[in-house]
């Protein structure tokens, strides 16, 4: 590795025409202050008045070669990030050589096979999630239409260095065939077909005195994508052999996951139907960990990701131990000039998704369902439980009235099993209705004002909420925001709090700076169905990002 660094230094001094350096930096800082009103006392802060997360990501490329370094510092981590983040150092270091036929990478890398059902290494800054692989990766394209990938390595676990046997080793192979490119008569066909197959195996030694554990656990997946005209079908099936772990209560049942998606789209109209079934599919490179880390597999969520504060208050977290779900979405554009479409057309989106638990049946008369050290349970492919984890029905209408006025209105009906999703065992599921309006007034070509009004009605959890936000933008550099979230329906009268904030942001070239003063309500942040709880806080938040 030192030789690579040396090489970079040399070329920096003797710039070569085709050498390129790019990257990004980000610093997120929070300054905490006690705020008795929302339950933040000195003892909650416990002396940790400042949390700062930051990274620098630098990539050097020259011809076929590229190399990169990623530095991170969490000193200390922002509230809500796992305490194990605390530390600083080089998180990623890698070098890669790429031609049209082969690409080889040594060091830390990210990768995904198909939809990720049996392998996905990725990084998500907002979640504090990084399961990058540290090892080697080869991508081989021997002929047009065939891509083969091979990877092996160990996964990142915060700052803990891999040592013999302190966690597992991952290795995987993936092949993807593009039939239209492989088979010449199909090249001009209107039907595009892609096939993929992958296999992953993890090794972790067994020294457990109680359980007789598999040291090598394999998982396999096959996928098919067909596109014909305006139709598109995607499906992937994955299977995993016995993988007892702390997260499945040490049962020895095989696991599987299926994901399918059928869509049709044309100008102004689109529908998509997605289905999934997941059964016992936690797949981590340490069977003992309960941390939000070291996942080898990834179960994509099939729910709409909501971006407004109240529609996004109860986001779904995927349940790898078992779930069956579907999503349907329809997008329609009422044409310009029609009676309802108006002068500028109107967009309507209708979305429905529901996820249930799978049904589990006992393996015999004497064994409890999910008893450790057994096959756990039986569940047929179509065995769905009545237990609903999550349901979301929402309608959004997006309309421009004139060159100056534009509005989005949205309605959402939600069912959220907070006991399962947030682990708040014993809590009643949240049934909520949420409505919002988002109105933009473009005053001049540079200045605009945006107003968001939202209301959430529920009798469960923390009761009703109302939220308002006013944003003034001076393009392209400045924005100013004031907002309040008011928990007026909290059954605990003392907790009927206002969470007010004032923010400003400044963007220049590729640098963006944002500063927020005020309170942040306790909440859940999810990206791709992986979630993190954000505790309530009060104080100043600061974010600086720059790209080059």
């Amino acid at each position: 590795m030192p030789s690579i660094l040396f090489y970079v230094v040399l070329t920096a001094q003797n710039p070569i025409d085709n050498a390129r350096i790019n990257g990004s930096f980000q610093i997120d800082a929070q300054f905490y202050q006690p705020d008795e009103g929302i339950g933040i006392t000195d003892s909650v802060i416990a002396g940790r008045k400042v949390g700062i997360n930051g990274y620098g990501n630098i990539i050097y490329s020259q011809g076929n070669f590229s190399g990169g370094i990623r530095y991170e510092a969490y000193l200390g981590p922002i509230a809500g990030f796992d305490a194990q983040h605390e530390g600083n150092g080089i998180a990623n270091l890698w070098a890669s050589y790429q031609t049209s036929m082969i690409e080889i990478t040594a060091g830390n890398f990210y990768e995904q096979f198909g939809n990720g059902l049996i392998l996905r290494a990725y990084e998500e800054w907002a979640l504090g999630y990084d399961n990058s692989l540290n090892g080697m990766r080869i991508v081989f394209r021997p002929i047009s239409g065939l891509t083969i990938k091979g990877v092996y390595g160990t996964q990142r676990f915060y700052w803990q260095k891999f040592e013999r046997n302190n966690r597992g080793i991952v290795r995987g192979l993936d092949a993807e065939f593009d039939l239209n490119e492989l088979i010449s008569p199909l090249q001009s066909s209107g039907t595009r077909v892609q096939l993929g197959a992958s296999a992953v195996s993890k090794y972790q030694r067994d020294a457990d005195p109680i359980f007789n554990l598999p040291e090598n656990v394999g998982a396999f997946a096959g996928r098919l994508n067909i596109t014909k005209g305006k139709f598109s079908l995607m499906t992937e099936y994955s299977h995993k052999i016995n993988d007892p772990s702390i997260l499945n209560n040490f049962i020895y049942k095989d696991g599987h996951a299926v994901l399918s998606s059928l869509s049709y789209s044309e100008r102004g109209f689109g529908v998509i139907l997605q289905l999934k079934r997941v059964d016992n599919m936690y797949y981590k490179s340490d069977r003992g960990t309960t941390s939000n880390a070291l996942d080898i597999s990834f179960i994509p969520p099939i729910n709409r990701t909501h971006s407004y504060s109240l529609t996004g208050k109860y986001p779904y977290a995927t349940q790898p131990n078992g779930e069956m779900g579907m999503q349907f979405q329809l997008n329609y554009r009422l044409p310009r000039g029609s009676k309802l479409g108006g002068q500028y057309g109107t967009n309507i989106a209708i979305n429905f998704s529901q996820v249930n638990d799978i049904k589990r049946n006992p393996i015999n008369d004497t064994t409890e369902i999910n008893q450790d050290g057994t096959l756990g349970y039986k569940s047929g492919f179509f065995d769905m439980s009545d237990h609903i984890f999550f349901r979301d029905f929402n309608v959004e209408i997006d309309k421009r009235f004139s060159t100056k006025w534009k509005a989005v209105i949205q309605y959402m009906n939600l069912y959220y099993d907070i006991a399962t999703i947030e682990g708040k065992t014993g809590y009643e599921p949240v049934k909520a209705n949420i409505a919002l309006a988002d109105i933009t007034w473009r005053m001049t070509s540079r200045k605009s004002i945006r107003l968001e009004l939202q209301s959430l009605f529920t009798s469960q959890d923390k009761g009703d909420w109302a939220a308002a936000m006013l944003e003034y933008t001076i393009a392209p550099r400045w924005f100013f925001t004031i907002s309040d979230q008011y928990n007026y329906g909290n059954p605990d009268k003392d907790s009927q709090n206002h969470y007010y904030t004032a923010s400003l942001g400044y963007t220049r070239e590729a640098t963006r700076l944002a500063l927020t003063f005020g309170r942040q309500a306790e909440g859940v942040v999810c990206v791709g169905g992986v979630c993190r709880v954000v505790p309530a806080s009060s104080g100043i938040m600061f974010t600086l990002t720059t790209n080059f």
Partner: protein, 282 residues
């Protein structure tokens, strides 16, 4: 092309073959390592827990299974600390926290529950061991050579509830630095409510008559113990260091369920050299 597909199929078979299909029995039972010799290496498992933590009963169950397997060689302390241990109104009105537990919780930065430490070792810089790794971690170190003898003698005066405890420590191997000695009191079999989400263990979401075992109650000689000896320098192998303590049991504690747990540890990295437990009524 043919050669290429041959290579590919070989590669795929390698990955495919890397699979261990386990046949029954999946679980070892009926074994016992409970042989108590005069001197044995003993291991301390600290279970950081709380009564509103839904995954904690599963951890307690696992600790119990390890105790069944290793007998006296494994000593458990259940440390009720952090958010999930807060008394939060009926039925969760018990407060099983202790000053010493709160301090340990904060020193080791424990935020997730359940989690634990095994002899306060830190493989890869990591003190906190998630429950799924407890068994492996215990089995990794339990057969290590014994570094020191630690003897506990107790005498309990029922009338005054005064408990006298004497500790005798003798190192068998040289160690660097001056060790510390810590003495704490634990109470077994406290009945109380416990959140639970594992139906194979008991009622969900609440077990109303959960038996809290090995509950850390108090430190006798400070939250971090004290130096094994006053003078400077390394420990003398073969020398017996004696310590005498006295504590009056809290009126809420049931004397029949009280044990004294003592351990000696490395003052710089907390790693425990030896641990011993004595039920005061034995």
């Amino acid at each position: 092309m043919k050669r290429f597909f041959l290579t590919l199929s070989i590669l795929i078979s390698i990955v495919l073959l890397s699979c261990d299909k386990i046949e029954e029995p999946y679980k070892n039972t009926g074994q016992s390592g409970g042989e108590t010799e005069v001197t044995t290496r003993k291991v301390l498992l600290e279970d950081y827990t709380g009564h509103t933590c839904v995954n904690c009963p599963a951890a307690a169950k696992l600790a119990g299974e390890l105790k069944d397997l290793y007998g006296d060689r494994l000593i458990i302390i259940a440390v009720h600390a952090g958010h999930f241990a807060l008394p939060s109104g009926p039925p969760f009105d018990l407060d099983l926290r202790s000053d010493v537990g709160n301090e340990w919780n904060s020193i080791f930065g424990i935020q997730g529950y359940p989690s634990g430490m095994i002899n306060r070792t830190s493989p890869g810089g990591q003190y906190i061991q998630s429950v799924g790794n407890w068994a492996t971690r215990v089995s990794d170190i339990i057969d290590d050579p014994t570094m020191a003898d630690l003897k506990i003698s107790t005498s309990y005066h029922q009338e005054s509830r005064r408990l006298d405890i004497s500790l005798e420590t003798t190192f068998k191997v040289p160690v660097t630095g001056k060790p510390k000695i810590q003495l704490v009191i634990t109470e077994d079999n406290i009945l109380g409510a416990q959140h639970n989400n594992n139906s194979t263990i008991g009622e969900t979401p609440i077990i109303y008559d959960f038996v809290h075992k090995h509950v850390l109650r108090a430190a006798v000689n400070g939250n971090l113990g004290e130096d094994l000896y006053p003078e400077q320098g390394n420990v003398n192998v073969g020398t017996t260091y004696e310590h005498d303590y006295s504590i009056t049991l809290d009126p809420d504690w049931v004397a029949d369920n009280i044990s004294a747990v003592a351990f000696i540890y490395n003052a710089s990295d907390y790693e425990i050299y030896q641990v011993e437990e004595k039920h005061i009524m034995d």
